[in-house]
């Protein structure tokens, strides 16, 4: 068995062991297996990375087995490890291991400890399948699989119907995206005759170009990405997904799974380079999503909801980068975002832990001194996402803004203005969150305040590691590392001069956001209340998330149920079909009357007659044979 296969199988083994035996063998066993498997997978990934480097960056490839072969069509379960895979797999196993360790503290009291770790390992298995898969088919298996893991973990506390419903919503909305993904895959297969991603990219880069519109395929695959990576119009599941345990939100709904769509676009860059229309759509959707989610985040009071909308918004940033052809930059933001957003979510988990389960930031305040490690790490990550130099988020966001303006593949002034404004909102709502949570007077109940305590080392240790990574991660230039694989787009003529404007601008944005948050929420927050009072209408729309859920319910859910029930069932089945058969049915009624008199005694006889007939035929056959 090759190393790549091993990376994938380790967490699967963890899932099976903990799923089948975990409850019997106790917490020690569950912890050892649950954290051990991802840690070993991380180590093996590093080994693969070194092999990759040692081999002069020639991609590693291995075939686990042939799934099926029909005529000339072969579908293999094959793995592929190149620069892009290396970045993704290291994030997934590295951050994944950290979050597993954090979970040992966070989930310590939970009755379903074994089930939790089994699911988390299952997630890792599918996520690794997704990033290591060589063909779109294997990627898709992982893609659907992480959706399953997400479903199971969002609804982890399934006794609460709302949580179970959130899990289902995530699955269904993702399935809508997956239908697009499938369509794209089928169109590709019909046109190119393979699902092997390196081959597909090569086909689109070479001549003759496949006889299919690259933009059609590109948009279909992007619909899949919209589902998994929570973009308009399919982002609605992610905020609800916060019903899951907080480490799950950090791992799945911030650091790894939700970035799968960005990975898909970057991985299929061979198609998107030839699909300017699809790329424009991606950039536009990304920008709109980033802006819309950021505005919603302004008006949320649940600490996890703010972070959730922030994630949606940051994913929009990544898609803007991908849309203007800067795939390396998109992955760069995936990478920095994994650190600071995981740190933020885990920090939020630590806060919730300290607050005995409270998530409303209006009922927090003044926590900085009581849980100092959580505070410091949270503050670093907040500064990172806001784009304070020289923290990780500054570098990736700066590059996104730069290419949004300067890329010769769709950069424009409008795009950069939208993104800059969104970055400003980001800095503002993140500092607002920081302020309301950690500064000012405590607003919680006395008994809650009495219980506030710093989390155990298993949690704070992980926070510290992630805070350090959020601080220094940006110095590793991922775009530069990926350059040999996916080149950065060219710069529009005359744009070079504006580079320093963009850098300066993004520093200014962070500063203004911080200042504004301090102005409005420092002190007694009366200024914020005044603003809110002045804009009650706007505030209501924002805090109700533009009523999109309600809209979908009216436009999609209810009509679908109505058509199914009123048209298909009542008119179709009952009236048209069974009605047409009514004549027969009335005959049937009479026959039934007679039949019901035929009781079991004579049925014996009936069966016996059948048997006699059979035997007679056989005998006849034998005699005439």
């Amino acid at each position: 068995m090759g190393l790549l296969t091993l990376i994938v199988l380790l967490p699967l083994a963890g899932f099976l062991l903990n799923g089948l035996l975990g409850n019997r063998l106790g917490k020690g066993f569950v912890t050892a297996v649950g954290c051990g498997m991802p840690a070993i997978a991380f180590a093996v990934t590093i080994k693969c990375f070194l092999d990759l480097k040692g081999g002069g960056w020639a991609p590693l490839s291995e075939v686990a087995y042939v799934w099926t072969m029909v005529g000339q069509d072969t579908f293999e379960v094959a793995f592929w490890f190149d620069r892009l895979t290396a970045v993704m797999a290291l994030i997934v196993t590295g951050v994944g291991t950290l979050i597993h360790i954090y979970s040992t503290g966070y989930m310590h009291e939970d009755k379903s400890y074994a089930r939790y770790f089994a699911y988390l390992n299952l997630f890792l298995f599918f996520m690794l399948l997704l990033v290591l898969g060589k063909s779109l088919l294997v990627l898709f298996v992982g893609w659907e699989g992480v959706g399953l893991a997400s479903y199971l973990l969002i609804g982890f506390w399934f006794g609460d119907m709302e949580k179970a419903a959130a899990g289902k919503k995530a699955f269904i909305v993702n399935r809508i995206g997956d239908a697009g993904f499938l369509l794209g895959m089928f169109v590709l297969y019909s046109a190119v005759g393979t699902l092997d991603m390196p081959k597909i990219n090569a086909a689109f880069m070479g001549t003759p170009v496949p006889a299919v519109s690259a933009s059609l395929v590109g948009i279909l695959l992007f619909i899949g990405a919209c589902g998994k990576s929570a973009q308009i119009p399919l982002y609605v599941w992610l905020p609800d997904a916060m019903a899951g345990p907080t480490p799950v939100s950090a791992l799945i709904h911030a650091a790894t799974m939700v970035t799968a769509g960005v990975y898909l676009v970057a991985r299929m860059s061979g198609i998107y380079l030839h699909a300017p229309e699809a790329s424009s759509v991606i950039a536009a959707v990304g920008a709109l999503t980033a802006l819309m989610a950021a505005t919603i985040a302004l008006a949320q009071d649940d600490i996890k909801k703010v972070l959730a909308y922030s994630t949606v918004s940051q994913l929009g940033f990544m898609f803007v980068a991908a849309g203007v052809g800067a795939y390396g930059v998109a992955v760069f933001h995936v990478y920095t975002h994994a650190f600071f957003k995981a740190c933020l979510f885990l920090g939020a988990g630590s806060v919730i832990h300290a607050m005995s389960g409270e998530q409303d930031i209006k009922k927090m305040g003044g926590l900085a001194r009581k849980i100092p490690i959580t505070f410091v790490t949270f503050a670093i990550a907040t500064a990172a996402i806001a784009g304070v130099p020289p923290l990780a988020g500054f570098f990736s966001k700066d590059e996104i803004l730069w290419f949004a303006l300067a890329s010769d593949r769709g950069g424009s002034v409008l795009l950069v203005l939208v993104m800059a404004f969104t970055a400003l909102l980001t800095a503002f709502y993140m500092f607002r969150l920081l302020w309301l949570t950690f500064f000012g007077k405590p607003r919680m109940l006395k008994e809650v305040e009495h219980h506030v305590h710093e989390s155990p080392l298993s949690m704070t240790g992980v926070l510290m590691v992630l805070a350090v990574l959020s601080a220094v991660g940006g110095f590793l230039s991922i775009p530069h590392f990926l350059e040999p694989m996916v080149a950065l787009p060219g710069v529009r003529p005359g744009m070079d001069a504006y580079h320093y404007w963009v850098v300066g601008g993004s520093v200014a944005i962070a500063a203004v956001g911080l200042g504004a948050a301090a102005y409005f929420f420092g002190g007694d927050a009366s200024r914020a209340a005044a603003v809110k009072a002045g804009f009650t209408g706007v505030y209501r729309v924002l805090s109700n998330k533009y009523y999109v859920d309600e809209l979908y319910d009216r436009v999609i859910n209810r009509p679908l149920l109505w058509i199914s029930d009123a048209i298909f069932l009542r008119v179709g089945d009952r009236f048209l079909i069974d009605g047409t058969l009514n004549g027969l049915a009335s005959v049937a009624q009479r026959a039934a009357g007679r039949l019901s008199r035929v009781q079991t005694g004579s049925l014996h006889k009936y069966a016996f007659l059948v048997l006699v007939g059979m035997v007679a035929s056989l005998v006849w056959m034998w005699r005439h044979g």
Binding site: T68, V141, M161, A179, I577, L581
Partner: protein, 523 residues
């Protein structure tokens, strides 16, 4: 032992079993159950030998038995295995023991007769699959009706009489049409070639005028479409399922419905290729209508058995779509989907039976939060739900994925000489992926999650017998999801043959028919 002998053993074991339990004195229910299970297990093990010996590289019949029967009419007794039926035979023998064991606690009255009927239907279903002569096929086809009719009529629910009559009328109507078509087909063959033959192999060579083909296809298709069932010939199915005892539902969903799709693949389409090619877009549309319509109706059901019944209609729509795609991947996918649906829907019906035995209601609204009280039950239920949704790594994915990829191949670059499938039809078929998730997960959510509501509770979780049944099923579901290649190798040549039979233009002059039984006829 020669394979042909083993196949005959597999086929006639149920008859022997039926006679044996008929000879048992009344009141020995325990013995009857154990004996039936033993025979079913033996049958399955024997069929496994056949599966292992089945050579994927050999076209045509294997393990064949050929005996002249009614020479004047050209009727021969020919049975054998080929790529068309090999998986379905295994599916039938595989489900046999599970159905038997699953009914141990559910069936309390007339136990002897019940298992005799299970044996009889097992015999008839296997016979229908292995028969290679239209006369024999028709005999087995009709024989199936009787035990099913009795199983629903005697051990069914409150409205069983209504359900049986509806079932009987629908299928008998289809059968009569098919009988007329069979007679006409053989007669016209005899008229044009002077040879009377019921052998499939001979009938494939017939070349009928297009108009005759169209009429005959319509008759066969109606009969098969009722069995599948395809919308709009489906309204018997929900009633039959709801009223049938668990074993009846499992047999119905697991194997009986595949008679329809198997019939299309083995007879309906290849016998009348020109007519089939003309009708392809129409059949594709009806298939997709079944997928969507079945799913939508599953969405609004309040009876858990009906949800699964309507889901069957939707899932079999994929089988039909794969068959008319005439694309190798699509055809292979259709076969996989048949097997997968047998396992998954069969398993779900078994599980509905298990909960019904405990709680005595099928009203979904009466349940809630089962995951807390019945954790083992819930795990199995969720796995089967996800397989039904077609999640990768389960058999449901293998079938759906290949069918859809085949449908798109047929839409973009149809096989030469075939009309293919309209692109929009293939695209709409993909919506089934979403709708399937919608109704099954909504079902699972209301059934397993939320606040606990257990009618007639508290109830016990699954016992060892039930866990064994489901574990075996689930293992098969994953096996076909992860490693479908072994099974698909065995069907590939048949898929090719089917594709060629339907797609190829037949030679203008009628090929000379043999009408004879080959010399190596074995008894």
């Amino acid at each position: 032992m020669a394979d042909a002998t083993i196949l005959s053993l597999v086929l006639y074991l149920p008859v022997a079993g039926m006679l044996a339990i008929a000879a048992l004195p009344a009141g020995r229910d325990g013995v009857v159950r154990a004996f039936t299970l033993a025979v079913m297990v033996l049958q399955f093990l024997l069929s496994l030998i056949l599966y292992a010996h089945f050579d994927p590289a050999v076209p045509g019949l294997q393990a064949a038995t050929r005996v002249p029967w009614i020479p004047d009419w050209g009727v021969n007794y020919v049975i054998g295995l080929d790529g068309y039926n090999v998986l379905l035979v295994i599916l039938t023998t595989f489900l046999g023991p599970l159905v038997t064991a699953g009914a141990f606690s559910a069936i309390a009255k007339q136990v002897k007769l019940f298992y005799a009927m299970v044996f009889l239907i097992q015999f008839a279903m296997l016979g229908t699959f292995v028969a290679q002569d239209l006369f024999l096929f028709y005999l087995f086809w009709e024989t199936m009706l009787i035990p099913m009719f009795l199983i629903i009529g005697i051990w069914g629910g409150e409205r069983r009489i209504y359900a049986t009559v509806k079932f009987f009328l629908y299928t008998a109507f289809g059968s009569i049409l098919m009988l007329a078509a069979v007679i006409y087909l053989v007669w016209s063959l005899w008229q044009t070639t002077g040879v009377a033959s019921f052998a499939f192999a001979d009938l494939y060579k017939a070349r009928l005028p297009l108009e005759a083909q169209q009429w005959l296809l319509a008759a066969f298709a109606l009969s098969f479409a009722i069995k599948v069932p395809m919308v709009p010939f489906h309204t018997w199915l929900p009633d039959a399922h709801v009223e049938a005892p668990t074993a009846g539902s499992v047999i119905l969903a697991g194997v009986l419905l595949k008679m329809g799709t198997y019939g299309f693949m083995k007879l309906g389409f290849p016998l009348f290729p020109e007519a089939t090619r003309l009708a392809t877009p129409l059949i594709a549309m009806l298939s997709v209508l079944s997928i969507v319509y079945g799913a939508c109706l599953a969405l609004v059901q309040t009876d858990i058995k009906k949800i699964i019944a309507y889901s069957s209609i939707s899932h079999l729509g994929y089988v039909m779509l794969g068959l008319v795609s005439l694309d190798l991947l699509g055809i292979q996918g259709a076969i996989m989907q048949m097997v997968s649906h047998g396992l998954v829907a069969g398993g779900l019906f078994l599980m509905v039976g298990m909960i019904y035995e405990r709680c005595h209601t099928r009203e979904l609204a009466a349940y809630g939060g089962l995951a807390k009280v019945l954790p083992v039950y819930s795990v199995f239920f969720l796995i089967l739900t996800l397989a039904s949704v077609g999640l990768p790594t389960t058999s449901g994915f293998t079938g759906e994925f290949l069918v859809l990829i085949g449908a798109f191949n047929a839409a973009w670059k149809p096989l030469a000489g075939t009309p293919g499938i309209p692109v929009w039809v293939a695209a709409v078929a993909v919506s089934g992926v979403v709708l399937g998730a919608l109704y099954m997960l909504w079902f699972a959510q209301r059934f397993l999650f939320g606040a606990e509501r257990v009618p007639h509770g508290p109830v016990a979780d699954l016992n060892a017998r039930e866990v064994s049944i489901l574990a075996i099923l689930v293992a098969a579901v994953f096996w076909l999801g992860l490693f479908p290649d072994g099974a698909m190798k065995r069907t590939e040549l048949a898929a090719r043959e089917y594709q060629e039979l339907v797609a190829a233009k037949r030679a203008p002059a009628a090929t000379r028919l043999t009408g004879e039984v080959p010399a190596e006829a074995v008894r």
